[in-house]
């Protein structure tokens, strides 16, 4: 069955619409990665309104190519302007910018792009291997296990995606509450609709995502003014030295990629943290004078985070595809894309939709290779993108926010709702409250409610004492204890 699905995936992926979608996603992703402030999440959010009528193969080809391209091209501003193109490139700054100032940019960028491709391919291969292996595990999950898994996912994302775990939990609970707006799935009773027919079907995902994630970014861009200040950097000459540096550090590339995959696969950790782990690991692996070079333009300090950063994309897809639980903001928005396309990620992605899962692996491999080739080819002109005035982009972003929200649910109230969510998202951003838990709670809320209802009907409250829920409960307790102790230690 897996071989049939693989054959089907290859057949569909190498068709004109899917390859065209990949190229489109690559182009958008290269620009979003190169321009600080335009993030992966924003890119996918702006694409959501356009995927309604697309085949899932084309839609995910566009979105995953965008993700891969952002993970690769976000290296440009890290080198040239000391600003990460997206948060996951933050660790690259530490040695990338000094390399550029030392006149070693070409060698560093070449190495960064090549290891990005290698890391991305390793991440995709791990995903490819994990899918069939996880199938029996996923099938062992019934309603009680799925309910507990959803709660665990929200708990982990709430605790780990921000500096304020308690606020993250509150955001997650608020998202769960937003998910209950509309008719109750069992008896059809309207809940929290305030007599408005508009709310009977529940809140639409797109206005919420646009408001909470895209509008605050518009304000942030306006505040930033010019995207990056002009700095003088010497590109230097060094394509082949960059290639040689990758070969010399091949095991570091593989180790960092595995760190990236694992970091991506654990909900709440994600690519940014994984890149810093990989950087730390690379530093720990050196002693004395060699370790002192880190932070001053050491190529290993670029290779390790870049490999981990791209590999994390494959890792992040493992819990999303296998269990329907997103690992971070990017996969939370991808989960929204799944629902828009009428697909419930989880067991189906390892069963009747396995060909789509395999197609996603193929897209990740191709997109990483193509993004690397494109970045190496356009290194010099791409550096100019970041000199754009950010306020030239603001009307375009607002156009997509307004248009996208309205198309998702054509009603004037949708625009008002988007604005209200935008205000909430901005306040949360300013106060450093994590926003991803809210989205994850909103999307997984109905799933949690259905599984809780089934569990209560069939086992009563004793469903908590089944083996897997017990293990998951213990895991939750462990996470809470670790987080509380860590915070107590900091205080």
């Amino acid at each position: 069955m897996a071989l049939d699905a693989l054959y089907e995936a290859i057949r569909i992926t190498f068709t004109l619409p899917v390859l065209g979608g990949m190229l489109l996603g690559l182009l958008i992703g290269l620009v979003f990665g190169a321009v600080p402030g335009l993030t992966t999440v924003l890119g996918i959010v702006l694409l959501l309104p356009f995927i309604w009528t697309m085949s899932p193969f084309v839609a995910f080809a566009i979105m995953l190519s965008l993700v891969s391209a952002v993970h690769t091209s976000n290296t440009f501003p890290a080198f040239f302007f000391n600003v990460p193109g997206s948060p996951s490139a933050a660790a690259t700054i530490l040695d990338g910018y000094p390399m550029a100032r030392n006149g070693d940019a070409a060698r560093g960028l070449t190495a960064a792009f090549i290891v990005s491709a290698v890391g991305g391919v390793i991440g995709a291969l791990v995903l490819f291997i994990a899918l069939p292996v996880l199938q029996p595990v996923v099938l062992a999950f019934a309603a009680p296990e799925r309910f507990m898994l959803v709660v665990l996912g929200i708990l982990m994302i709430s605790f780990l995606s921000g500096s304020k775990p308690l606020k993250g939990l509150m955001a997650g609970a608020f998202g769960l509450w937003l998910g209950t707006v509309g008719q109750d799935p069992q008896l059809g009773v309207p809940r929290f609709t305030f007599g408005e027919d508009y709310l009977l079907d529940g809140l639409n995902t797109v206005p919420l995502v646009m408001g909470v994630f895209a509008l605050p970014e518009v304000v942030a861009l306006a505040i930033r003014g010019r995207i990056a200040e002009r700095t003088h950097v010497d590109m230097g000459e060094g394509f082949w030295p960059g290639v040689r540096a990758c070969i010399a550090n091949r095991w570091l590339v593989v180790r960092s990629a595995l760190v990236g995959v694992i970091g991506g696969a654990i909900p709440g950790i994600g690519g940014t943290a994984a890149a810093f782990y990989a950087y730390g690991m690379a530093m720990q692996g050196n002693k004395g004078a060699h370790r002192d070079k880190f932070g001053k333009g050491e190529i290993k300090g670029v290779i390790a985070p870049e490999s981990a950063n791209n590999a994390s994309a494959g890792g992040e897809l493992v819990p999303l595809l296998a269990f329907g639980v997103p690992g971070g903001a990017t996969t939370a928005v991808l989960l929204a894309a799944f629902l828009i396309l009428g697909i419930n990620p989880g067991p189906a992605m390892l069963g009747e939709k396995l060909s789509l899962s395999f197609s996603m692996v193929i897209v990740l491999v191709l997109a990483n290779l193509l993004a690397t080739a494109a970045c190496i080819a356009v290194t010099r002109p791409a550096a100019r993108i970041a000199f754009l005035r950010s306020n030239l982009l603001i009307p375009v972003l607002l156009l997509f926010v307004l248009f996208g929200s309205y198309v998702a649910y054509p009603h004037p109230y949708t625009l008002v709702l988007t604005l209200a969510f935008g205000a909430l998202g901005y306040v949360m951003m300013r106060l450093d409250w994590a926003r991803p838990p809210m989205l994850v709670g909103f999307i997984l809320g109905p799933l949690a409610e259905n599984n809780l209802a089934i569990s209560m009907a069939s086992h009563g409250i004793w469903f908590l004492l089944r083996p897997i829920p017990l293990v998951l409960l213990a895991l939750m307790a462990l996470i809470i204890v670790v987080v509380v102790r860590r915070r107590a230690g900091r205080a």
């Binding site: 606020k167 509150m170 009773v189 929290f192 607002l398 309205y406 004037p412 604005l419 409250w433 209802a453």
Partner: protein
Amino acid sequence: MSTPRELALTAGAAVVFGGAIVAGIDWELPTAMFPMTIGAVGLALTLWSGAADMRTWRENRDAAAPMSEEDRARARGSFIWIGVFFGAVLLIGFQWGLSLAALAFYRLEARLGWIAAMLSAAACGAFLYIAAHVLTIPLYTGFIPDLIP
């Protein structure tokens, strides 16, 4: 660090969670179970968080998150422009509202020349025209045109 703003947001969340519990009292168990559970957990979290915020809010009463006066002015400007874009669409619809708002933004805020500003606004208008007339996507025509018989 807790600030009065955090406390206000926490209080807002407490109202929502408390409201969920109160609303659930009138519903049957299958309808009420999930929202009331979330309400109870959420309320407990807000009370815990609120108590922690209260402990530190007095010393941080004047401590706003770090933002320079210039940044604050830029943020205010962006709020106004976001309001202009949303207001224009609600009043005169997508095609005219967004195109005119984009023209105003490019001319007044981005300080482009008239020709560049008009070309940029026309590109927005063309996108919306294609969406509405070629792709037949129903776009809102605005509150004011709806009033005209």
